[in-house]
Amino acid sequence: MNNEELWKTALGEIELSISKANFKTWFKNTSILSYEDNHIIIGVPNGFAKEWLENKYNIYILKSLRNIQENIQSVSCNIITNSKNVPIQNAQPSMDAIVPPQNITLNKKSYFPSFLENNLNQKYTFENFVVGGSNELARAACFAVSQNLGNSYNPLFIYGGVGLGKTHLIQSIGNEIIKRNPALNVKYVSSERFTSNLIDAIKNQKANEFKESYQKIDLLIIDDIQFISGKEKTQEEFFHIFNYLYQLNKQIVLSSDRPPKAIQILEERLRSRFEGGMIADVSMPDHETRVAILRKKALKDKIEISNEAIEFIASNIKHNVRELEGALNRVSVSSQLTNQSIDLTYAKNSLSDIISSGKKKGITYKHILKTVSSFYEVSIDDLIAKNRKKEVVLPRQIAMFLMRQELQFSFPGIGDKLGGRDHTTVIHACEKISSAIEIDEKLKESLEDIKNRIYSVI
């Protein structure tokens, strides 16, 4: 095992024993500088980290390193400075200190440096996309578009939650087109990139060039279009580009995390255009699809893993394909380090901290009550109190729901914590909230917001 792997493994262990904020603050940009005579020197970015790691976290670090290599005796820290870790040639950017102002603002060549590129990632193709009931329609629509550009479904609008394969699908269209006819002009941008390019262009008085460059495109793919909500000027420019391309029968593909109807502050004329073509959704993969995804990835990356282990991962990680693949990666990397084969028990052990209440480390029901009460501006006492005031009912139900979902408390347990309520009350609350978030986008957002707050307090 080299130093880098050693440190990575040790960090994995340290991460579990301290809070996320602490971990991020103190262990960011650290590395092992040297490992000689059973003494390890850790490179840290600044003096504060050096003091802290040497005086407060020394024990944690030593313990976790020893778990991997028993003979390690001691650990110390050094501040990394430029002279040490940057190769000589990089340290000499003989760049001029000052330059004439005009050269900077009006350099034509450097203007759209990335424009000629299509920005596609070649690893996304239709061949390696796993099809299941949840994404069949979206995949079929994308494939149809790639076979008959501009004439089958225009625009094509794909939506679905994070990590379910939207980007994979829409990039596959681009890659397929390029494979068949490299001369066609394909452009993939995220809507954030689109906006910032537009702002640059306006700043440099090049808005027309910006528009023209987009009008040359045969296939325009915009990812995460929901981010243009509320940006009026971007929406306006996009509207014109959209219309222009549409009139010429050029293909437009859009993706979003929600349907056009649910994108807030979107101009009506854009919304109606988005809905004018084909709308397809990708939803959460079912169990079989998840198993298939894992099999495919294991095959591709040559990971040997037992069927029970795959079943275990697939049945525990349900909401996000990216997390699913991440879990598989994690198991495979740790099995390589320890030289064990992956069976059910091994997978269970190495994923114990992600699955079940793993990522919720350090969270207690008090955190939840505190966050919910501050989010809705009601006091904790009110949440617990025995009354049914209108303004506390929803916050109380949300608190119950979160305690159930995030902490896996039992129903009677939750009732107990919230002023001795009956477990049926709790069951009702959880059912109510979980069905409400299916239809109420606003509630869903608030809930996400609360969860973020809960996890950012520790």
Partner: protein, 390 residues
């Protein structure tokens, strides 16, 4: 913790430290000030993990201890508290800080200090001791050219080069450059350490924020006299400052400062001397009419007609011109500037007259100070600005 101290001292120290606390913190504990009572002193500490500050004041301590107090709250509390002689602080078991001053009694909910970061302390001796008056001067002359929020991180700090005879302080935002040369003989240095560092061709980049913080503290502290020293010690990746019972540590910026010496011209064709106030007002007026994004104004020197004009015109705003007194050596010139960049340079000059040195309309222009007696240029300070190409 239980102690009594002078209210005014405590207030000043808290206000000196509080500014270091930034709003966006990943660690909640960083929103606090640490109060720590030793045998006979009280330390106040704050940090944002880039800068750390420790202020120490005398106190009569009955019981030692430490506590982390919300910074914004306690700072606002002290600025509103009626002034009084003595103030007593005491903590209880539930991490409350009890404050008693005159007729006012307060309990501030505070936090356990265990998680408060350890502020690094210096290991080496002080290498430089700079009088406060010099520090303020360097800061005011160099900082106008600093790059704020720049993508190139190395430009967001002062570049300090230690040479055997001089120390060069410089800042640039890549449009203009400001440099101040401090003679080594004018300040106190640790000979051996200094020579060792200077011979290794040492140069460091000090973040602008920490210098601005020091400048703020020494400018507002009435106890700080002009010849009080600011002690500086430089270590791997960090720099330490100490003055008047205050200790400050900051990280140094990692990176290579761009070479700039070769940009400063060795000789100039045309030399213009003008009264600072007249020039400064002329630029401000012309700036109102300046055209384009780059705020263009023209300086026109005509050696035949013996006149100098500062001109600006904009298609939407109108026109403006100021005639300056003709005090020129050398041929005619016509140069276009960004009004703001030129003004910043002139404002940094502290002599009555300003010298502008020009080669032609495409090479760097220099601004220098002029000695009041000999009318000769002074070479401690130089401000370089690039003209705008036509």
């Amino acid at each position: 913790m239980k102690l009594t101290c002078i209210q005014d001292n405590l207030k000043k120290s808290i206000q000196a430290c509080e500014k270091v606390v930034t709003k966006r913190n990943t660690l909640p504990i960083l929103n606090n000030l640490l109060l720590e009572a030793d045998k006979n002193s009280l330390k106040i500490e704050a940090t944002n993990l880039e800068i750390g500050i420790i202020a120490k004041i005398g106190a009569k301590v009955e019981k030692t201890g430490r506590i982390a107090v919300p910074a914004k709250l306690i700072s606002s509390f002290f600025s509103n508290l009626p002034s009084g002689e003595k103030i007593s602080l005491e903590t209880d078991k539930e991490e409350n800080l009890k404050i008693k001053s005159g007729s006012n009694k307060t309990i501030i909910k505070s936090n356990i200090a265990d998680d408060f970061p350890l502020i690094p302390l210096k290991v080496k001796e002080f290498i430089l001791k700079i009088p406060a008056i010099f520090f303020r001067m360097i800061f005011s002359k160099v900082s106008p050219a600093i790059a704020i929020n720049e993508a190139r991180q190395e430009l967001t700090g002062f570049n300090l080069i230690l040479k055997e005879e001089e120390l060069f302080w410089a800042a640039t935002d890549s449009f203009r450059l400001s440099e101040y040369k401090l003679e080594r003989k004018n300040i106190e240095v640790d000979e051996a350490e200094y020579m060792r560092v200077a011979q290794n061709g040492s140069e460091i980049i000090i973040p602008f924020n920490v210098l601005a913080e020091i400048n703020r503290i020494i400018s507002t502290d009435l106890n700080m006299e002009d010849n009080n020293k600011i002690n500086i010690s430089i270590e791997e990746g960090q720099i330490f400052f100490e003055f008047n019972r205050i200790k400050i540590v900051s990280r140094l910026i990692n990176g290579k400062y761009p070479e700039y010496k070769h940009i400063i011209p060795n000789k100039y064709e045309t030399k213009l001397i003008c009264d600072k106030i007249t020039l400064q007002n002329g630029i401000k007026l012309a700036g109102l009419f300046a055209s384009g994004n780059s705020n263009e104004i023209r300086l026109k020197i005509d050696s035949q007609k013996k006149n100098v004009f500062l001109l600006a015109s904009g298609s939407e705003t109108g026109e403006n011109s100021t005639e300056l007194k003709y005090d020129v050596h050398g041929p005619s010139q016509e140069v276009v500037f960004n009004a703001k960049y030129l003004l910043d340079g002139v404002l940094a000059v502290s002599t009555k007259e300003v010298m502008i040195l020009i080669n032609n309309d495409t090479s760097p222009i220099a601004i220098k100070e002029v000695s009041g007696k000999t009318k000769e240029e002074l070479n401690d300070f130089i401000y370089i600005v690039m003209p705008i190409k036509k």
